[in-house]
C-alpha cells in the first residue's frame, strides 16, 4: 500500500513538472474591469444630482469622496454644491470648498483652478469662498 502511494506520488510529481513550463507572459493580474476616470466622475455627478438627495446622503457622499486618494473634479463639486443649495445648506457648501483645498495638499495650483472652474456656479448660487469669508487663515 505504501509503495503504491509512493509510485502515484512520483507520477503526479513528473506530471506537475511538465506543466510548470508555462510562458512568463501570463501574469496573475485581477480580471476585474478598471473604471475609467470619466466613468468615476459621471458616477459621482449622478449621485449628487439626485433631486431628492437627503442631507445624510450628501454627507455620506462627500465624506466618502474626500476619503479617496484624489481631488474631485470641478464638475463633481458643482453637482455637490447644487445639492447643498437644494438642501438649503450653505455651511456645507463652504466646507466642501475648504475640503477640496485641503485635499490638494502641497499641490497649490489645484484649488485656484477648481475655484476658477466653479466661479459661475459660485456666483449664481451666492456661495462665498473661504477666502472671501476670511476663514482660510487662522
Amino acid at each position: 500500500m505504501f509503495s503504491a502511494v509512493l509510485r502515484a506520488g512520483f507520477r503526479s510529481l513528473s506530471r506537475t513538472r511538465a506543466n510548470h513550463t508555462a510562458p512568463l507572459a501570463v501574469r496573475c493580474y485581477s480580471h476585474a474591469e478598471v473604471e475609467t476616470d470619466e466613468e468615476f466622475d459621471s458616477r459621482w455627478v449622478t449621485y449628487f444630482s439626485k433631486p431628492d438627495l437627503d442631507a445624510w446622503e450628501l454627507r455620506k457622499g462627500m465624506n466618502t469622496l474626500i476619503g479617496y486618494d484624489l481631488v474631485p473634479e470641478p464638475k463633481i463639486i458643482d453637482s455637490a454644491l447644487r445639492a447643498c443649495r437644494r438642501l438649503n445648506d450653505l455651511a456645507s457648501a463652504i466646507r466642501i470648498l475648504e475640503a477640496v483645498r485641503d485635499k490638494s495638499g502641497p499641490h497649490k495650483e489645484i484649488y485656484p483652478y477648481v475655484i476658477q472652474e466653479l466661479s459661475p456656479t459660485l456666483q449664481e448660487l451666492g456661495i462665498s469662498t473661504p477666502e472671501e469669508l476670511g476663514i482660510d487663515k487662522v
Partner: protein
Amino acid sequence: MLSSRALVRGLQCGLWRRVSTSSGAWAAHSHDVDMIDCSVPQYNNRLDTPLPDVPFVRNLNPEQKKLKEKENGPWTQLTKEEKLAIYRLTHELSYPEMRKGSKEWMTVLGGVFFFLGFTGLLVWWQRVYVYGDVPHTLSPEWVEQQTQRMIDMRVNPVHGFSHKWDYEKKQWK
C-alpha cells in the same frame, strides 16, 4: 455592559465633560451641565470628514433661527457676516484652525525635563548621603599595585591589556 459603572467612571476620568448613558435613571439624579450622549451621533472636527454627522450648535436661539430661515432663500442676499455666522453654527473649527495645533508639546517637554532634573537631584542625594564608602580595593594605591601585577602576569597579551604595555620601554604604548 455599556452602562456599567466602572466603564462610565473611566470615561469620566478621561473626558472633561460628564458622560451620560442612555438609561434614564442616571440622567435623572445627576445635574451636571455638560453632558455628552454617547448613544447618538456626535459632532467632530476631522480633516477627512468635512461634513460632520450633526451641526455644532443644536439648540438655536431666536436670532440664529431667523438666520437659518434666511438661509432657505437666495444666498446672494446674505451678507458676509451672516454667511460666516451660518458656517460657525454648523462647524466649530475651520480647516486651518483644525490644522493649527498647539504649543502643548513645549509644556510636556518642559515637564519631562523638570521631573528628570528632580530625579537627578534625588539620585545625587542618595549617592552622597545614603551610599557608604567604596571598597578599599578601588583606592589608588591598590589599583597601582594591581595594575603592576596584571602587567607582570601578562594579562591579555595578544589584543588586550598587556598588549598595550611596552615591555622594552616600560611604559604604555
